[in-house]
């Protein structure tokens, strides 16, 4: 669905004759070309997973984290331009601590998503700023239970049961729709997310990848944290086994 903007795509403050802002669409392309990021809302919490494409064999595993804690009760996974993502995470953390200072309670996830969306949208309003080239999946656990939000470079944010961005998002979304999320605990969800990410990874086109996963659920005491090592290994093993089963068919 790509079309050339010719002339109407030079500035984020210009509409095209058919009502599109091309700069924002181009920003979305940056997200579409990055490694897949998946988020699901299970019965008792949220699971986030990232297909972290490794640019060089020299990189240390566990570096260049794509999932960041934003406060004790929430975290966000970033897809797209990593440096842009850092900026969004910094701003989100600042919003969360500020809310806590003023109101004395952890920021509700809905409010946090609105602030992230607002900030991302801000950068699409002025010619001297460029839109963020990253999409964010934000998951948190507050008084209203676990919630999952996705924010796009246009500044649009919706609440989801399951969301995916990046290269393999179409295939990932199909897989997520097959899952019965309402009946799943996060422990089971972690295995499913690993299977999805291993499944959508394109061996031919892309290099090696590292699976990064986090959760915030009852089992983690409603704190956002990296999935414990033993569960992560279990998930990776299950994902690899599922892949082999598919190849064997």
């Amino acid at each position: 669905m790509s079309s050339i903007g010719t002339g109407y795509d030079l500035s984020v403050t210009t509409f095209s004759p058919d009502g599109r802002v091309f700069q924002i669409e181009y920003a979305a392309k940056a997200v579409d070309n990055s490694g897949t990021v998946v988020g699901i809302k299970c019965k008792d919490g949220i699971v986030l997973g990232v297909e972290k494409l490794i640019a060089s064999k020299m990189m240390l595993p566990g570096s260049n984290l794509r999932i960041h804690s934003v406060h004790r009760h929430s975290g966000m996974a970033v897809a797209g331009l990593a440096a842009d993502g850092r900026q969004i995470v910094a701003r989100t953390r600042s919003e969360a601590t500020n809310y806590d200072s003023v109101y004395g309670e952890p920021i509700p996830v809905k409010e946090l998503a609105e602030r992230v969306a607002s900030y991302v949208h801000l950068c699409t309003l002025y010619w001297w700023l460029r839109p963020f080239g990253c999409g964010v999946i934000l998951g948190g656990y507050d008084r209203d239970g676990p919630q999952l939000y996705m924010v796009e470079p246009s500044g649009v944010s919706y609440r989801y049961f399951g969301a995916a961005i990046g290269k393999g998002r179409q295939a990932a979304k199909t897989e997520i729709e097959k899952l019965k999320l309402g009946d799943m605990t996060c422990r089971q969800g972690v295995i499913e997310v690993a299977k999805i990410i291993y499944g959508v990874h394109d061996e031919a086109k892309d290099k090696d990848f590292e699976l990064e996963m986090s959760w915030v659920c009852d089992e983690s005491n409603r704190q956002h944290q990296k999935v414990p090592d033993d569960l992560l290994e279990e998930a990776k093993a299950a994902a690899k086994a599922a892949l082999e089963e598919m190849d064997a068919d």
Partner: protein
């Protein structure tokens, strides 16, 4: 020449404390640090609040005890909360230890003092990280040091001598508590802002434990107290 202190009007600067906590006493023992404080908050000479928590765990490795202005203590807890939160969000397996937290507090206290707007507290910071015990103190003018036993306020004058005589390396938990209770009892008898509801807390490699508050047994049958003016009629 205008300085920061001229820019801040008197109504915005701490000039005197309002609700204050009295002494905190702490010592190193075999497994970590033991700290004790009573639960009183005085409003001048009135013992107005009797359930103030003056000992708080900070992060995984430290305990903070405060004497002085309670509202400034709450402000300090707020700063430390944010410090620990940001430390946790790095998610790198590292965590701030007692030495680091003490240093941070020293910076905060000294810088506020330089702006003539002090946080009116004397803080005791103790903790254990990777087997290393640490016990330090910092006060409102930024004086800070570490030692095997520390105390704030009247505790400095009444309990440090006891600790200098009776503290030794590798006190057991029971010995440490007994020593702390002896110190707190002296303070209860002699400090007018002390209240008989004390809290003891310990911090070891495993973490912090705050014990429930309790009262010290006191003895008022000393003959000297019975007829206090017998040697000097007319005095009180």
């Amino acid at each position: 020449m205008a300085s920061n202190s001229d820019l801040v009007s008197d109504t915005q600067r701490t000039l005197y404390p309002y609700v204050t906590g009295t002494s905190v006493v702490a010592l190193k023992y075999k497994d970590g640090i033991l700290m004790a404080a009573d639960m009183g908050g005085s409003y001048g000479s009135t013992l107005r609040y009797k359930s103030i928590d003056r000992l708080k765990p900070i992060g995984k490795h430290s305990l903070l005890g405060a004497s002085g202005e309670i509202s400034d203590f709450q402000e300090i807890l707020h700063y430390l909360d944010e410090l620990i939160l940001y430390d946790n969000m790095w998610d790198d397996g590292n965590s701030l230890g007692p030495k680091e937290v003490h240093n941070y507090l020293t910076q905060v206290m000294y810088n506020r003092r330089n702006k003539f707007n002090p946080l009116w507290n004397a803080l005791v910071l103790g903790g254990v990280k990777n087997g290393q015990k640490y016990l330090g103190m910092v006060n409102m003018i930024g004086i800070n040091f570490e030692d095997n036993h520390v105390a704030t306020g009247l505790g400095n004058h009444l309990t440090r001598p006891i600790l200098r005589d009776e503290w030794h390396e590798n006190l057991t938990f029971e010995e440490g508590v007994k020593l702390l209770e002896k110190c707190m009892r002296v303070l209860l008898y002699r400090d007018r802002s002390a209240v008989n509801k004390i809290q003891i807390s310990k911090i070891t490699e495993e973490g912090a434990t705050l014990f429930p508050p309790y009262s010290l047994k006191t003895y008022w049958e000393f003959t000297a107290f019975k007829n206090p003016t017998v040697g000097a009629e007319g005095s009180w």
